[in-house]
Symmetry: C2
Subunit: 339 residues, 2 copies
């Protein structure tokens, strides 16, 4: 059913119907009520593409999925969609086809230039991230999940990675640990940098020396956690504790411990960052895993809301949200053995 048809059916003009359905103030409440009811009864729904053409709005937010296909994405998407569904906003997922920064930038460019979206979200930013000037140049609104030092002012939402890892590391030091392994995320990413800073600051404040052999970078996979943890644990003076970048990393570290007949929570401690998943919970691990915790789903939801505000005209430069991170102590962090 089309607008014209529907309008004729209920004895009104297309204009009035359109206004009633879009909630314009100049339509009388009675008319609005009646139109809404009739629309439901007769099953009338505006054609979304016609609306979009007429209004010039795309009605969607763009999300570019990188090659890695990281496991946190489902939770993030879930949070976004929950917010966006009310506003008839879609989320449009595009892949980066080849690997590398350039391919990624091109993917953003394609989406932005095709006019398929009203705003985009930049994931996993780096300092001076090239996607920021790109979208600013194209006049495409966006929000950065994370931060990008050295870039022009822009909207961002980030969690306090530095603070979280600072507290996690300090906690381990409080327990007497002095050799603390750090298995961080991909090198170059802002969140990895911030976590490294938090880690080093904790060491420095307590007079511990930084040992580069105890720091590693890589994807958030159990393999990375396993390999680096094992390598570090096989060194002469091995770490007695680990800070892990993700739940998957922690899984790998637990595995490395078992492979070397070490017991987590007795022979060594582990604390990891947890984005909160329905299918893998820190509480259930054995021993239960101490974590720095922050919900990906919540972040996705809030980002969607902010993006809607930016589209509606809120100045993007004023949007900076830094979310605190919970520190949840469980069984996996214990005093250093014999300490």
């Amino acid at each position: 059913m089309k607008l014209k048809e529907f309008a004729r059916e209920i004895g009104l003009s297309p204009t009035t119907v359109s206004r009633a359905l879009s909630g314009y103030p100049e339509v009388s409440a009675a008319t609005r009520q009646r139109v809404s009811a009739e629309a439901v009864r007769l099953g009338y729904r505006p054609n979304i593409n016609a609306v979009r053409l007429a209004t010039g709005r795309a009605g969607a937010i763009g999300l570019v999925m990188n090659q890695a296909g990281e496991f946190q994405l489902t939770e993030f998407l879930r949070g976004m969609t929950e917010q966006l569904v009310r506003d008839e906003m879609d989320i449009l997922v595009t892949p980066v086809v080849e690997d590398g920064t350039e391919a990624e930038v091109n993917a953003y460019r394609r989406v932005a230039e095709a006019g398929k979206v009203d705003a985009m979200i930049i994931l996993a930013p780096q300092p001076n991230d090239p996607r920021i000037p790109l979208l600013q140049g194209l006049g495409m609104p966006f929000l950065v999940h994370g931060r990008s030092e050295g870039s022009a002012p822009h909207a961002w939402l980030d969690i306090d990675n530095e603070g979280a890892i600072f507290r996690a590391t300090s906690h381990l030091i409080d327990l007497g640990h002095t050799r603390i392994g750090m298995i961080n995320g991909r090198k170059g990413m802002t969140f990895s940098l911030h976590r490294d800073i938090g880690y080093r600051r904790a060491l420095e404040e307590r007079g511990l020396t930084f040992d580069p052999r105890f720091v590693a970078h890589g994807n958030f996979t159990d393999e990375v956690g396993f390999t680096f943890a094992r390598d570090m644990l096989e060194q002469g003076l091995r770490p007695t504790a680990f800070v892990a970048g993700s739940m998957m990393t922690a899984l790998g570290i637990y595995r490395a411990a078992r492979a070397l007949d070490l017991v987590v929570g007795r022979d060594m401690s582990v604390i990891a960052h947890d984005d909160v998943f329905p299918y893998l919970t820190a509480d259930n691990m054995v021993p239960s895993l101490s974590t720095t915790r922050s919900s990906m789903r919540a972040a996705g939801g809030r980002i969607a809301t902010l993006l809607l505000q930016i589209i509606a005209g809120r100045p993007a430069e004023e949007i900076h949200e830094l979310w605190p991170v919970e520190l949840i102590l469980r069984e996996s962090t214990q005093p250093v053995p014999g300490g």
Copy 2:
């Protein structure tokens, strides 16, 4: 830049430009070449919403995300987007807001009626799945990932769950196991039913009696794996082997074994279904995990391709793909202790 403007700029009619860019045969090769080159040079791109309105195509495939937000979704999406990006097809993700079958059906209805998509994909079907008559009634093309017994003919792509679990179970029986725990997916889902059938058929063919205490159903989470495995292992005559519905389930089972001081690969065996993830690999588990393996990413890609064909006019009823599942034996399946 708009079509009219661009056409004037290069001295052609909008008609010819449109045809050249869409690859219509009646345009001379020379003209086509020139138009494409000029479009790049001048940065002309058709407005996607105008194209969609004019053609009546939505240019997107709909995917409804259920409440659970299952972890396999990222891989599936990745596979889909990789295929769709070439054809300028988007994928539109919508959430189910509340829980329950009805809410889910309503989500499908909303997407289909709004005309936002050219086709939809039905995930996690059940027998007589209500989404199938719904979409058929609305004339919305779709493809089922999985199968739905009792429904009218429709397009589907499934993996051979029954065969996979039959072989997995038979393998365990070959190793001498007679008490085999089965921690399956959510009750009522077709894939769970098929796996149950494969499991029971293997037992029957080898003259083993089916014991309902050894079978459990639940979400694909480590918690479900842990809880059910522990419960079964604490029974008097406990299972000596497990068939697990997912990698997360297997994680939970491994954990349950450790909690009870049992060693997987010695005191008990485990085999799980693996959808193949970059971040958690069966090879890396300790002991390495035997699996029935089938790539979610590949399935997503193939489904996208098939959906494109259906949209292009291929009769949906003829599309039935049953994918074989690999059986990969690793260290976690061993002869029954003392067998």
